[in-house]
Symmetry: C2
Subunit: 483 residues, 2 copies
């Protein structure tokens, strides 16, 4: 990051400082609204309060200067839209790019809404080209294209090259700013080279070693550089077979490898083993965190991260696809019940008991599914292991179906004093749990086999199955044996 | 890590290599079982196949020597218990500690089941004391105590000090192996000191700077050390106000700060600002990943990570508390329906329609809840913002209730051709969504306010509310206006 203050607030004080700034800004936004309403009346009061407001704003600007861009982003995300606009105006133009880099996509789009493309391009000027590419990639396509055209010629070329890698590949996430040295250089020469620079790229824990043709030969850690004799050559000291990535490796692989081998950074090569970039652990941490947030929202059908302060209409529609799907599957379950209306008419207790069977099935299926999704994401489910796991889950379902089906049977008997009904609900619970375990194990496996993300939508599909089939099993058994 | 091979397989080849080893071991375990069954018959066949097996094992041991401990842990976790036992026997004693460090808790407990405490202590001998503390903390208490007694005296003291910090604090996760220098030293002296060491602690990107009393003064990055003139003093070159942590800071704070400021490592101090440890980014990455896995399992009520190959009985019981809770809440919802049995008896269509209302409510509530939990974890919900968000969610619920309630009403009319029933289901949907939004917003907030984790159990509580109240609203309205 450019020109960031070296001295920052300690994180404990920071939270208070942020909260104060947020409160001040929120209050000011309210006051400004009051002032603009009373402006018609004019008068000295308005002039005075405007003066006070201006003083406060200068003080606020001073305070925000000590904030890291990530903290300014936090403040912006926590503010309602009118106060957010005021706060954005207080951020110096040369820091805006760094702040935009740290906000969520939704808030970023809100912030640049009113900025002309030329101004956006100017605010990105201080950033590295891979960061510019990230930002442009997150903008609406037409705006992104306009901003791109207004960048420096050199930036444009680099940004276009990063944008050419598909989303979710290492190529799209790599840094372009990194150090390389030749393997036949002496350490002394490397040290001289470094001293001539004022600053190394962020997260530089190692220097990439290449040959004459820019082909990866190894990595030289700063530690090796510091601890070895200056007369030695790079090739003697370096680590010769480091972990590296191809530009088309999926990001998920990079995350796994960084975690497994505790890496700080790793070189990225093209198909000819020529070094074209570098991945660093800070991008990995961001990726994991973003993934985690996205998964939590995606599981309940919220596709994108939502701006907490987006208009109601926009947020409401964001939730429609999932609601529609849910309504559709619930409707199918309802038709299963509708089919058995005559049976229910004769024994209305069935209506009260059927949701219990469906609910316990959903619970069991979800537990199995969580375990299978975890095993899938760890690559731990090959063919024979899958069969073994399915058998185990079926045995657990049989065990728990018998135990908790009997409990449910006992409760039913206490309420209705009917042995046949008790037998039917116990049997239905066993069958439902067996079916739920099968569905819970197979749905994510099948989704993955058809090239889909096993997390997205698996829960709706499962509930659709456990609800419909739960009603079918219970009411079906009842219509056969009770009515 | 000690004595790890410098040259490792590239991650692309590694996956194949692991899969091959897993397959070989699984097959061998099956063969061994066959041999032991046919042993009664004795004869040359058995001797030959034992010889072959021994040769294969030596080959396997050679291959696993090239694996990183994390990869061996992966292999062990992917193997059924009999094959896992065979594989564990192939791991050299001096590498076992490093492997144990990388396995899940459940698999770790399985591996040490048959090891006497002395042997466990011996296998931990090569590890750093903070890693030993992590391992001992994850063992059953009595075994942990026995292992602790058998450690070297020096290790014992350090391990006990780490174990004295409560779980979930920075003190419990920090490393004890790190470098410090005095602020009045010259860089030259620091360089000499480093050259005398053969190796720096893992993830050393900076050296902690202290004064005479071991009080934190700043950090000196390797970059600053490399780029500055050797005659300068540490104090002139260092970063004077670095981010640091207190031993009692929660780990979640450390994760947030590392992510926000892209840290690689940071010093840890006690209440007197004396440096006592260091946190590095690899621990942060592990923490985030573990958190992510745990959350996914906890959401469906699986408390601990489960060993895929644990016995059925053990895995089955692991799921009981949640199943019992689910049965209990489903039973309450069932009693709500039971109360309206006379109403259903008169209009059996209600039985078929009521699950739709409850299901759409559950969906809406879960969406609101996911957003609120995210905002809570980002610390973005103070008092006035909470009110603002609740109002917004209620407006969304009113909008979506009207839209999708009307759709549901239209479907109901097509099926049953009854206008009053159509009106009731539309109204019930609107009320249910308003209630679901309120519950979805308030449940995590209340859980947090009472000092509970807002993720754990929130989903059960929500479904309990949306189901019971959904049935109550719909059947209540029906009993008032239809029957």
């Amino acid at each position: 990051m450019t020109d960031e203050p070296k001295t920052q607030l300690h994180h404990r004080h920071l939270e208070q400082a942020r909260a104060q700034v947020i409160e001040l800004l929120t209050r000011q936004a309210v006051e400004r609204e009051l002032v603009s309403k009373s402006e018609g009346h004019g008068g000295q009061d308005a002039v005075v309060s405007q003066l006070v407001a201006r003083q406060q704003q200068t003080a606020l600007q001073q305070r925000m200067l000590r904030f890291h861009p990530a903290d300014i982003a936090f403040v912006l995300e926590s503010l309602p839209r009118d106060a957010r606009e005021m706060a954005w105006a207080l951020v110096r133009p040369e820091r805006r790019g760094a702040v935009l880099l740290e906000t969520s996509d939704a808030v970023r789009r809100n912030l640049i809404e009113d900025m002309p493309p030329g101004e956006i391009a100017a605010s990105l000027h201080h950033l590295e080209s891979d960061d510019i590419a990230d930002l442009i990639g997150s903008l609406p396509e037409d705006i992104g294209a306009q901003v791109l055209e207004r960048l420096d010629r050199a930036d444009q070329v680099e940004v276009r090259s990063v944008l050419s890698y598909p989303d979710g590949t290492v190529g799209a996430m790599m840094d372009l700013d990194f150090l390389t040295v030749r393997d036949d250089a002496a350490l002394e020469a490397v040290l001289r080279l470094l001293r001539r620079k004022k600053k190394l790229p962020a997260e530089t824990n190692q220097i990439v070693v290449v040959d004459r043709g820019n082909v990866l030969r190894g990595v030289l850690t700063l530690e090796q550089l510091l601890l070895s004799e200056p007369e030695q050559s790079v090739a003697e000291v370096m680590t010769p077979n480091p972990q590296f990535f191809y530009t088309d490796d999926p990001v998920t692989d990079a995350v796994a490898v960084f975690e497994r081998y505790d890496l700080i950074s790793a070189p990225v090569v093209n198909q000819h083993m020529e070094v074209v970039g570098r991945v660093a652990v800070d991008d990995i941490v961001d990726t994991i965190q973003a993934q985690q947030e996205r998964d939590a929202l995606r599981q309940v059908g919220l596709r994108e991260e939502e701006d907490l302060f987006a208009p109601v209409w926009q947020s409401g529609r964001n939730r429609w696809p999932w609601l529609a799907l849910n309504l559709f599957t619930a409707f199918i379950a309802s038709r299963v019940i509708g089919f058995y209306e005559p049976t229910i008419e004769k024994l209305v207790a069935l209506a009260a008991l059927m949701p219990i069977v469906a609910s316990v099935g959903g619970n069991t299926g979800n537990q199995t599914m969580a375990l299978v999704i975890r095993a899938l994401s760890l690559n731990q489910l090959s063919g024979p292991l899958l069969r073994k796991m399915l058998i185990k889950e079926l045995l657990i379902a049989a065990l728990n179906g018998s135990v908790w089906g009997s409990v449910l049977g006992a409760m039913t008997f206490m309420l209705y004093h009917e042995l046949p009904l008790t037998a039917v609900i116990t049997a239905a619970t066993v069958f439902e749990l067996l079916l739920a375990a099968t569905a819970g194990a197979m749905i994510p496996v099948l989704l993955e086999r058809f090239g889909r993300d096993p997390v997205l939508g698996s829960s709706v599909l499962l509930t659709a199955v456990t609800d419909s089939m739960g009603f079918f099993i219970f009411l079906g058994l009842a219509s056969l044996f009770l009515v």
